[in-house]
Amino acid sequence: MTGATPPLRVLVSDTAVARVAAHRALAVPGVLALQADLTQTALGIAGAWLGPGGRSAPPAGAAAEVRDQTVQVALTVVTGLGQNCRDLAQAVQRAVAAEIAGYTGLVATVTVTISEVLLDA
């Protein structure tokens, strides 16, 4: 027994980061919803049909891929008329990257896709 602190290695899953990103993005003013893309929709259908297979499904409209100390995040956002789409995308990128850095220590590159602008929102 040397008394030295054993090393600790924490791994954060893609799904966990995606969930943090989705939660923070939905709190940005002007973000009305996140929208599952074609891939997530198809995987959701397949998951409902075949069962989750022991893996928890990522949140709709958010995906993350962790590599070493960085993470690529992709968010698909629904907003409403009256929001400047460019400014909203930048606000989401800033907020989500800061949240992920604070929560996990990972450096995030956040890709935002605005898929829909609701005209009657």
Binding site: L43, C85, T111, T113
Partner: protein
């Protein structure tokens, strides 16, 4: 199917006739009974050859059914690769690039067109029919996404001065592009495809 006695002759397999069991009964008939869910008959219960064959067939039958009942999970690499290709194709064609220093930012082209059509529809004397937005791929000379070209078709109320109202449409599209979308508009083409009268749907 009822089997009560020894088979009349050996069954034919792919490699020739199958030798009967030690008791003379055709093993295939025992397997058929097992697969059909029938219980062993009196002979099979007492015959060591038949009971061993029956037990073996029953084990295999249960194993196959158990495996068939298990949920099938497609290989994730295959599914995700295929869907990724579909997604990439979809996005390249249908997305506008938005300026951002924080990473890639994009806007659905149909959603942007709907916003511009909505802006024109709110103008007196004008209704939007269709809207197409083109944006050159890649960044411009300033490193920002290229400005967009808008092609919009409209119908005008009968009697309005087209030169004046189309000038207002142009200004509306430029303003909506910058203020609502955050996409600078370089050029606006307006095609007046029809006229309508008040009260006409």
């Amino acid at each position: 199917m009822a089997v009560t006695g020894p088979a009349s002759g050996p069954a034919a397999g792919p490699d020739g006739p199958i030798a009967p069991l030690g008791c003379g009964r055709d093993a295939a008939l025992v397997w058929d009974r097992t697969e059909a869910g029938l219980p062993p008959d009196e002979h099979e219960r007492d015959c060591p050859h038949c009971s061993a064959t029956f037990a073996e067939a029953d084990r295999l039958h249960r194993l196959v059914h158990r495996m068939a009942a298990e949920p099938v999970e497609p290989p994730p690499s295959v599914l995700e690769r295929a869907m990724g290709a579909v997604r990439t194709e979809f996005r390249q064609r249908d997305l506008l690039e938005l300026a951002s220093p924080h990473g890639p930012a994009r806007l659905s082209r149909p959603a942007a067109a709907a916003v511009l059509r909505h802006a024109v529809d709110r103008m007196a004397g004008m209704r939007a029919r269709s809207c197409r937005i083109e944006q050159a791929a890649g960044p411009g000379p300033d490193g920002q996404p290229a400005a967009a070209d808008v092609m919009i078709t409209v119908t005008a109320r009968f009697g309005v001065e087209l030169a004046s109202v189309t000038a207002r449409v142009r200004q509306m599209v430029l303003a909506a592009g910058e203020q609502a979308l955050g996409v600078p508009v370089r050029r606006v083409d307006i095609d007046v495809v029809d006229v309508f009268e008040d009260g006409q749907p």
